[in-house]
Symmetry: C2
Subunit: 155 residues, 2 copies
DNA sequence: CGGATATCGTTCAGTGATCGAATGAAGCGG
DNA sequence: CCGCTTCATTCGATCACTGAACGATATCCG
């Protein structure tokens, strides 16, 4: 009966039914939980630190500029993240002999251990988060999110 | 010698294959895009403002404390968000006659219009984001995300 | 009734994350 | 050699957000 025009009252679906909205809110929740998990390590690390390690683990040794570009943050932020990670021996900072302006970052064994701990923690969070999903749903979700990530050009 | 495709260890999947990681990164992207869309409105609004409108639209008139609890932010933040939205005539602030300490917020028609604009913008972002998904995937994704949202107690 | 206590909204100062501009060292083109 | 660019770093500024203090109101209990 109601609106043939179709514009008046799409109030039931609503903004909160859109993907961007759900992704935004769930993303915050996910990041919060991961942040709390990180805090239990008691190393003063934030998600961005781990993001740096991940961006580093992907390819070979990388300059800080390159890292900043990959992560979408200011180069000056990479400095402080790398400072902290270097103190923890998770990364090594070496001047590139071919171009002595560049600081080449590489992942150390300690950094790999740290990444493993994060992976374990993340899997635990995943399990808790998806407790009410079927295996098929879990798989479909992971697949779909991966497609979105590819679409926007992420790791 | 050590890498290449031989390692059957759980190193290949990696942290970036976990849901929390994907949700975190995609959540940031989604929020960034929504933020940019909001900026085109040129009303000085941030996602949190819209979050307040959504939290408000859900139920009836609500006190600021209640809103703060729902949104998981400090009551003092609700003050400034509501200040801005009130200037834009998107919400009305009225002292509760039953309890004159409480400021009761209600969504105005202007606020509803604003929400509609946001919904339209979000649907556009959704369409772009999921351009490479099949309809079935899109549906499954929305469903799964809704289950996660329910699981963690979100709108 | 009346004083102690709790609650609501508001203000304000402080903190943390992030950025942008300025700086200095190093490379590069002519 | 000399300007021009690029890299890392430092530093000051900004923005969102919080927590503590405050005043006004409400509620409880003797």
């Amino acid at each position: 009966m109601s609106d043939v025009t179709g514009t008046a009252s799409p109030r039931l679906p609503g903004l909160s039914a859109t993907l961007v909205f759900k992704l935004g809110t769930l993303g915050t929740v996910a990041t919060d939980r991961f942040t709390r998990a990180l805090e239990t390590f008691d190393l003063g690390l934030k998600p961005k630190h781990i993001g740096l390690l991940v961006a580093l683990g992907a390819g070979a040794a990388t300059s800080q500029q390159e890292l900043a570009a990959r992560m979408g943050v200011a180069p000056s932020l990479v400095v402080s993240l790398a400072d902290h990670l270097e103190e923890l021996q998770a990364v090594r900072r070496v001047r590139d002999p071919q171009d002595r302006r560049r600081q080449v970052l590489t992942l150390t064994d300690e950094g790999r251990r740290l990444l493993d701990r994060c992976e374990t923690a993340s899997r635990d969070l995943d399990a808790d988060l998806t407790a009410e999903l079927t295996d098929a749903q879990r798989a479909a979700l992971g697949e779909a999110l991966q497609l979105l990530a590819d679409r926007v050009g992420l790791p």
